[in-house]
């Protein structure tokens, strides 16, 4: 699993360890850090530029001559990008800078016009695939700021080997909790506040669980009138630095919350729920389902399905369906935050040969008590980044609380097994 050091730092604001120290502490506490590397190339001398003036090149129609404000001074640069416009904030590589692909910036003359530096594409900066148009930054960025700072590019990625007995460590909050237990600081959970409005969620959607062994808990929220658009750059970049492709704000938020809380979520386009209800049931032997990776799958009665009362919309805890997927035209969202039982998830995942970030966590064991927090966190981010009206209340179908085993600790036994006497006070402090 990949972790962002910056993210850990946001969760533990008083974390005093640097990335190398974090790696060492985690390795020596049982979660081996296999590698530690920078999230992105961080070339010096790339700054946010404000495009003040754009004129057509006197000698070439497809080239533009721009005046770019970079804080203390202005530079004239020639650019051929089709999407360049006056007023944009862009990434400008200053003369003398070497880009990640090795290209060195020089002051030059292009068809008789002086040009200093270059306005860059994502690809040229080494932070994305788009190479034919320039990267346009958010308007809030101040001209002259370094790009690495503006986009929070300076980050370290830790790759961890999480052992199967520690599913609680499969998230940033999980690892942050671990670091706090090791004395690294105090955990500060992320914001979950949002506004509710309109009708009761319960009058909009009804949840029924047929198989309470496979699905002990299912919670649903409905958010109406969202705007699906690309995620802000900071969110997209962080997800991509952790190996998850950015798709759209709402989809990215469910992935974000999964990496943050360790709890898998699913967002459905609620207009595809013909029956306005959620029924969790076992698949009929031989039932067919088209998952969102475009593969048609034949199910056995071992598989657990999320349905709209009749038609399946997802294979529980593993993958959603193509039909109910959130798309550019989605307006209303049903946000699922459920708990699926490990053996059921594992069996289906094995049977279908289908492993996802979600199935990986459910089959190792998610926390049923974490479902509400994860749902609230995602709702908060959806309202922040996609707008919309959050209906009142959470529909929480949890017929029988999952019992937590009590663990007895016998100090005498500890001494026998470990071979040294551990004072009561020290023992208590460690377990805090």
């Amino acid at each position: 699993m990949k972790l962002s050091y910056n993210w850990l730092k946001e969760l533990i604001p008083n974390l005093s360890w640097n990335p190398e120290q974090v790696a060492e502490k985690l390795t020596m506490s049982g979660t081996e850090v296999e590698s530690l590397h920078p999230a992105w190339p961080e070339p010096e001398g790339i700054v946010v530029g404000h495009v003040k003036e754009v004129k057509t090149h006197p000698e070439a129609k497809n080239l533009k001559v721009c005046q770019v404000n970079i804080g203390q001074k202005r530079l004239q640069t020639v650019c051929g990008a089709s999407n360049l416009e006056r007023g944009q904030r862009v990434a400008l590589a200053l003369p003398g800078v070497k880009l990640p692909d090795g290209l060195e910036m020089k002051e030059a003359e292009i068809k008789g016009t002086k040009s200093a530096g270059m306005i860059c594409s994502e690809k040229e900066l080494g932070i994305g695939e788009v190479g034919d148009i320039i990267l346009v930054l958010d308007d809030e960025f101040v001209a002259g700021t370094s790009l690495a700072e503006a986009l929070r590019l300076r980050d370290s990625i830790l790759e961890l080997e999480v052992t199967p007995n520690r599913p609680d460590c499969l998230s940033h909050i999980g690892i942050a909790r671990e670091l706090c237990a090791l004395g690294g600081g105090t955990l500060k959970l992320p914001e979950t506040h949002f506004r509710e409005a309109g009708i009761e969620t319960a009058s909009e959607v009804e949840v029924e669980i047929e198989d309470v062994v496979g699905c002990p808990r299912y919670t649903a929220r409905v958010i109406k009138g969202v705007k699906i658009r690309p995620s802000p750059k900071w969110m997209a970049l962080r997800l991509e630095s952790l190996g998850i492709r950015s798709i759209s704000n709402v989809v990215d938020i469910t992935n974000w919350v999964l990496l943050e809380t360790g709890h898998p979520l699913h967002a459905f386009d609620y207009d595809n729920f013909a029956q306005r209800r959620v029924l969790v049931r076992r698949a009929k032997p031989g039932e067919r389902f088209l998952t969102l990776d475009g593969v048609g799958r034949t199910l056995s009665s071992n598989s657990l399905l999320i349905t709209d009362g009749e038609t399946p919309v997802a294979i529980a805890g593993i993958m959603g369906g193509e039909k109910s997927e959130v798309s550019g035209s989605t307006r209303n969202i049903l946000l699922e935050s459920a708990y699926f039982d490990p053996p059921t998830t594992r069996r289906t995942s094995k049977e279908l040969g289908l492993v996802s970030e979600s199935s990986y966590r459910f089959e190792r064991g998610a926390d049923p008590e974490n479902a509400v927090f994860a749902s609230e966190r995602a709702t908060r981010l959806i309202q922040e980044l996609a707008g919309g009206e959050v209906l009142k209340g959470l529909v929480d179908c949890y017929p029988k609380k999952v019992a937590f085993p009590k663990v007895k600790l016998r100090p005498q036994r500890v001494s026998t097994v470990v071979g040294i006497e551990i004072p009561k006070e020290e023992s208590r402090k460690t377990r805090r």
Binding site: G30, P164, P342, V418
Partner: protein, 339 residues
């Protein structure tokens, strides 16, 4: 002037007596002089032949010549029998030439490593145990607290022979087989071949050697485990070696650790062999999980124990500075002759 003909029979007898006594080349030479020398007995007979009457001379002469021939032959025979004569009579042989070395077989570096590991642990009171390569699900997984649905079964990709029959993925099944037959105290090591579905590369091969260690008794603790691993490391690699334990997870031990040795190549300062960490991962260990004791009918309230694994190939590679595990299994004589 006439003379009595010499008594050749008497002379021959005398000559025989003289010959009979000589057993060294030196004595033989003395006898030869006595018989055939200028003043020798036979020479005397020949000289006197001239003084014999003409009518007996030919007959006596003939007899005397035959006698001389016989004596000469006897002398030659005697000479051959004494050692000096013998050497000369055999084909010429130069003892100073270097010998032609016979082709000696030798132990494979893995075998040498296993023998060394066994010796060290025998010295600490361990017995050597063995188990089959082809195992059942029960011994390889279930009895080791790794039931069917356990995610830890993902940790090893298994070669199945048939339903429930597999090539053992570790030497740990030997623990179960030994504990089923024997009551504590148990103190064994079990070296042997294991199998996993790995694609061969510089550090993985689908069949590899492990050594299992197990000690069960009353009040066995983590400190004993640390002690035995550290003592082993020092015995094998010298007193400067450091041993590091990191918490880890295995279904059959609790608590579990992975243990590392300080890098022998760079002595801890960091090099490509230790991936610049100064440490080389050796294997896993831990305190036997009470569930494992229950499976073999030991009472976990009475007994505790530790178990450890040890990558034999890994140790051989460190010891002989081999950078690719595949070399150990290709059986190229040019490689094997170096050990």
């Amino acid at each position: 002037m006439t003379t009595q003909p010499p008594d050749l029979k008497e002379i021959e007898k005398e000559a025989q007596d003289l010959l009979g006594e000589c057993d060294t080349p030196r004595k033989l030479e003395e006898v030869r002089v006595k018989l055939l020398g200028r003043k020798g007995l036979i020479t005397g007979v020949m000289r006197e032949l001239g003084r014999l009457p003409a009518e007996v001379r030919p007959a006596v002469g003939k007899e005397a010549n035959l006698l001389r021939e016989r004596i000469e032959a006897a002398l030659a025979e005697k000479k051959r029998l004494t050692s000096e004569e013998k050497e000369v009579s055999e084909p010429l042989f130069d003892y100073t030439l270097p010998g032609r070395t016979p082709w000696l077989g030798r132990s494979h570096p893995i075998t040498q490593t296993i023998i060394e590991i066994e010796d060290i642990f025998r010295g600490m009171g361990f017995e050597v145990a063995e188990g089959p390569h082809i195992e059942t699900d029960y011994y390889n997984f279930d009895a080791l607290n790794t039931p069917e649905d356990h995610p830890a079964r993902d940790l090893s990709d298994t070669f199945y022979v048939d339903k429930g029959i597999l090539l053992r993925t570790h030497t740990s099944p030997v623990q179960i087989r030994v504990m089923e037959k024997k009551s504590p105290p148990v103190r064994i090591i079990a070296p042997g071949l294991c199998f996993r579905r790995d694609t061969p590369d510089a550090s993985h091969v689908p069949n590899f050697f492990q050594t299992e260690g197990l000690y069960v008794d009353r009040e066995v603790s983590v400190t004993d485990l640390k002690g035995v691993i550290t003592a082993f490391a020092r015995e094998l690699f010298g007193p400067k070696i450091k041993v590091r334990f990191r918490p880890h997870f295995f279904p059959f031990t609790e608590p579990s650790v992975e243990y590392d040795f300080s890098c022998m190549i760079c002595e801890g300062s960091g090099c490509p062999v230790c991936k610049r960490t100064g440490w080389v991962e050796i294997s896993g260990a831990g305190m036997v999980d009470p569930e494992v004791f229950k499976a073999v009918g030991y009472d976990p309230e009475i007994y505790t124990g530790y178990a450890f694994g040890m990558g034999v190939d890994r140790i051989a590679m460190i010891k002989y500075r081999i950078n690719d595990i595949r070399l150990l299994y290709e059986n190229d004589l040019r490689f094997l002759r170096q050990f």
